[in-house]
Symmetry: C2
Amino acid sequence: MHSTAEENYIKAIYKLSGGGANAVSTTALSETLETKPASVSDMLRKLSAKDLVHYVKYYGVQLTEEGKRVALKIIRKHRLWEVFLVQKLHFTWDEVHEVAEQMEHVKSELLIQRLDEFLGHPRVDPHGDPIPSEAGELRQEEQRVLSSLAVEQKGVVCRVKDSQPAFLQYLNKVGIQIGSQLQVVDKIPYDNSLEISIDKNRSVILSSDVLEKIFVINP
Amino acid sequence: MHSTAEENYIKAIYKLSGGGANAVSTTALSETLETKPASVSDMLRKLSAKDLVHYVKYYGVQLTEEGKRVALKIIRKHRLWEVFLVQKLHFTWDEVHEVAEQMEHVKSELLIQRLDEFLGHPRVDPHGDPIPSEAGELRQEEQRVLSSLAVEQKGVVCRVKDSQPAFLQYLNKVGIQIGSQLQVVDKIPYDNSLEISIDKNRSVILSSDVLEKIFVINP
DNA sequence: AAATAAATTTAGGCAAACCTAAACTTTTAT
DNA sequence: ATAAAAGTTTAGGTTTGCCTAAATTTATTT
Ligand SMILES: [Mn+2]
Ligand SMILES: [Mn+2]
Ligand SMILES: [Mn+2]
Ligand SMILES: [Mn+2]
């Protein structure tokens, strides 16, 4: 298998290239990985020998198909662990990254299959980023702002655009988190607020301010 | 912090020394760690320099107090992850070890605290081995065979002495697993079988054969 | 008490993943 | 079109953790 260092490089290349589209420069990598450019050159030669990247000296790297496959696997693991940490262990969004950065390197197919099952096959991580499928497909699902839903329409919370503690505490209080199943119960035209049911349990009225900060995908 | 290699050595020394009691030989370590004796000598010099072990050339190693503390922390993490894998992800006893061997090296105090909480502060791992407390204390609790309990007495399943699939499947069927809360409801003197309630839910009658294979600790 | 056997350490190397300093390419500015 | 600046690679080191082969120490025989 691949070393932790190799995996971190692959993932960084994937992200900096925008999913494998563009070539990535040595300095860009050295910055995100917090190493020196010389070390990056070193590693790129190795990754190239393993056919994980196309590397043209002085002009940058790109992932090969195999490289992309590896990248998506690591990203899948990273994001599943993030979901676990937030939903099961009650980590906050800003606490998860460092830990997930380590857990993503644990090697076991069974583990990640079972974890996915245990979490109910989540489609987005706590930051609203999509989780690649077991087959390695990453479909960026259409995200709509909650304020745009019509009465009766449903959505699953995938992203919140405000990380101030006060706002997050408010969401916590009303019971909204990433993954919550929402449905618009009623629309109050006076101030554009909506009555929203949460996980088929309670229901609350959310102001248009709040509605603008919550994003959902189709259920 | 300590590297994965160092942590594995510390843990191996702890286990081979029987909790820090006896000195451990280079060859013993090389066997359990699947490295050559020369590599062990190398590492022992390093661990000694870090004051994690007392090392007397040609005569073996022992953990220092600090070394013992480190060992118990790793063992705590290993066993908590084993509980997670079995209870939450439905791994079997024999599937957990390799994965826990990796997860035990993830660094995060918060993670392990929250995991412990999430699992309900378990006291034994799926093999019946005790889980060191957060303070680093390992109390081997008195294990009694289920057949020895009197009517009304309670116990928590901590170990099962038969790993044949047929037996494990039987336990699975009646709903007994490590951590199950049992209470003796009635005693049938005719064949020494017992009626046992499981997790305050259902109750079953277990034959004396089965009772001899299940061990419990005090609730 | 030697001699032999077994266990252990030391010496010298290697690969991974990093580093600094120097050399080389490519880009930008004059 | 050259020169300077910026980016990148190469050369030569370091540390970690492993290896083999040789030397050394301890244990066991005779
Ligand atoms: Mn990582
Ligand atoms: Mn994320
Ligand atoms: Mn381990
Ligand atoms: Mn165990």
